[in-house]
Amino acid sequence: MSLLSVRDLTVKFAMRDQTVTALNGISFDLAKGERLGIVGESGAGKSITGFSLMNLLSRPGYIDSGQILFEGEDVVQMNDKRLRNLRGNRMAMIFQDPMVTLNPVLTIGQQMIETLMAHRKLSREEARQIAIVKLREVYIPSPEERLEQYPHELSGGMRQRIIIAIALLLDPQLIIADEPTTALDVTIQADIMELMLELCQSNQVGLILITHDLGVVSQMTERTLVMYAGRIIEAGRTREIINDPQHPYTQGLINALPQQTVPGQRLKQIPGNMPGLASIPPGCAFNPRCKYATDLCRARVPEIVQYSEVAVACHEVQRLHSDEDRQEARA
């Protein structure tokens, strides 16, 4: 049985004059200890997916329909008490910006100990000892002193390590990391990613890594979902998606990577912008930016179907491939 099974998850936002759909029938599975990447541009619905898994959407967002089965129990149907038992305990989250995630007026120790005591019957001292052990695991020097410090006394990288330690405090089954290194210095990003990979592997923790960085996804994850305008448009093993992307959007993302460009040349951007949630075009949401778009693409939303090694939502995927084959044959 998979650890997490999301079925037809639809999330809507009730705005003043209209209701927009932010997630449109998302389905995916995650096995125990598996690492999954979710990639896409800003506004594709990656973070909303992450927050939905914990049922932590704040108004005006809400889960409209669908199921989120975590260890066999539907998160969508859980009452507040069950949700509190889930959050931070069986499923932990790492937020994007460590500079604003920790409470500025509480010490690191208070914020770690309260998390342990919220879920387990422990004395303050026992909780403190666990906190120290976890801080050691994320390579924080002199953890006893850190517990007495306030967040502003620590660097961003140090804070994100502490947030990772907090995520690991109660040995969860799944960690959701929402762009955990975007706000950090480039030199620290690699350290943090390596640390997360190491800890997830050694503790058999499942990971959902939300990012726009395909390079990170290829290092960190076994499977990848590509999202666009609230839908999954391509899903499969990370290696296949990176090496042989099927959807024109995924191809565009990979071609836009600096590694794919000869130095000195302009980066290959995907023309145009992702549509806002209120103005998603009919048919395939990507069609205005897609050079392969046909009348069918402009009329009907493509189903996600298995094609070669991956699942892809594109009407033209076969034609696209035969074109490529012809080009290759000519070359």
Binding site: M54, L56, S58, L83, R84, N85, L86, R87, G88, N89, A92, M93, F95, D97, V100, T101, L102, N103, P104, V105, L106, T107, E114, T115, A118, H119, Y150, H152, I166
Partner: protein, 326 residues
């Protein structure tokens, strides 16, 4: 710590200098002091002679320096009406005013925090809407009207509370008499305290609510939820502490302002404090007393603000008092 304290004290002295300058400048524009000192029958030559003796013909700077020098030694002039040092007159009235402000502060702190937090947590509930509606009414009605209405309802119609004076007071030390030692004293201070709090309390409810709602939207509150923390702990430990930081700063200024508001409340309730005294002094053109009042109120203002800044530094861990001002 010492450097920070020294810096704050120097600032306070600078503010006091400006206040004294303004107070002194007003003195010259409140009519001829000779008219108050001597009758109409004194001849012009004698008046000139008196002016010279009193130093009223000296330059502004000389007069101010003399005034400031005396003030530093605790001499703010002699009240024309009481024939006593102005400072002594004010200090005798000070305890009554400070107790009134203290009573109002207790009401404000006791009610604004729970009401502000409740209306922030449940912004759509009917009770919240009622509280917010009443707060607008409270802010809009002037203090003297609230005071008169309360006297009419609770003293005249129902007879629950006395309508004027301090009632039974008890000597605590020196000339300090307190209202808080007898039941009668308590009964007398309740209505004036509510009247004095009637504008600040709604203001603070709204301020706390607005700050709290903003804090509840913050990432760290969301993060606390994601850690599975009990909502009460999130409201009162995670959110309230951050909410109160800016409120403390505003609160300090408002306590100072309340000392000034006492003029209206004390007048309506015939409360024998320095606000009531000030109004009488204005009526009698008792210039030294008016000037002394301005300086004492300015001093209270400066002292409360300095204390509040120090408290803020202690409460907020991101302000390092030990390093500040160094």
């Amino acid at each position: 710590m010492f450097a920070y304290l020294a810096k704050r004290v120097i600032q306070a002295i600078a503010v006091m200098f400006v206040i004294s300058l303004i107070a002194f400048a007003i003195q010259g524009n409140l009519g001829d002091p000779l008219r108050e000192l001597v009758g109409q029958s004194v001849s012009e030559e004698v008046r000139q002679q008196l002016r010279d003796e009193l130093g009223l013909n000296d330059s502004f700077v000389t007069q101010y320096l003399r005034f400031a020098g005396n003030a530093l030694q605790g001499d703010l002039g002699t009240s024309y009406f009481f024939k006593e040092p102005a400072l002594d007159v004010i200090l005798k009235k000070l305890p009554a005013t400070l107790e009134l402000v203290f009573g109002a502060t207790l009401i404000i702190i006791g009610f604004s925090v729970p009401l502000g937090v409740y209306t922030a947590i449940k912004p759509d509930s009917i009770l919240s809407r009622i509280i917010m509606g009443l707060s607008i009414v409270g802010i809009s009605i002037p203090v003297f009207l609230t005071a008169i209405l309360m006297i009419f309802v609770f003293s005249v119609e129902y007879g629950w509370f006395p309508s004027y004076g301090r009632g039974d007071t008890v000597h605590v030390w020196g000339y300090w008499q307190t209202n808080f030692a007898t039941a009668d004293g308590w009964m007398h201070i309740i209505l004036p305290s509510i009247a004095l709090a009637s504008i600040m309390l709604p203001l603070f409810v709204r301020l706390i609510r607005a700050e709290m709602m903003e804090v509840l939207q913050s990432e760290y509150v969301k993060y606390a939820k994601a850690k599975g923390i009990n909502p009460w702990r999130i409201y009162f430990v995670h959110a309230l502490k951050n909410t109160l930081l800016p409120v403390i700063t505003v609160g300090g200024v408002q306590i100072g302002t309340m000392v000034a508001y006492t003029i209206l409340t004390e007048t309506v309730f015939q409360w024998p404090g320095m606000g009531f005294m000030f109004l009488e002094a204005v009526n009698r053109v008792d210039t030294p007393l008016i000037v002394a009042y301005l300086i004492v109120v300015g001093f209270i203002f400066v002292v409360t603000n300095t204390i509040v800044d120090l408290i803020y530094g202690l409460v907020n861990p991101t302000v390092n008092i030990a390093r500040m001002g160094a």
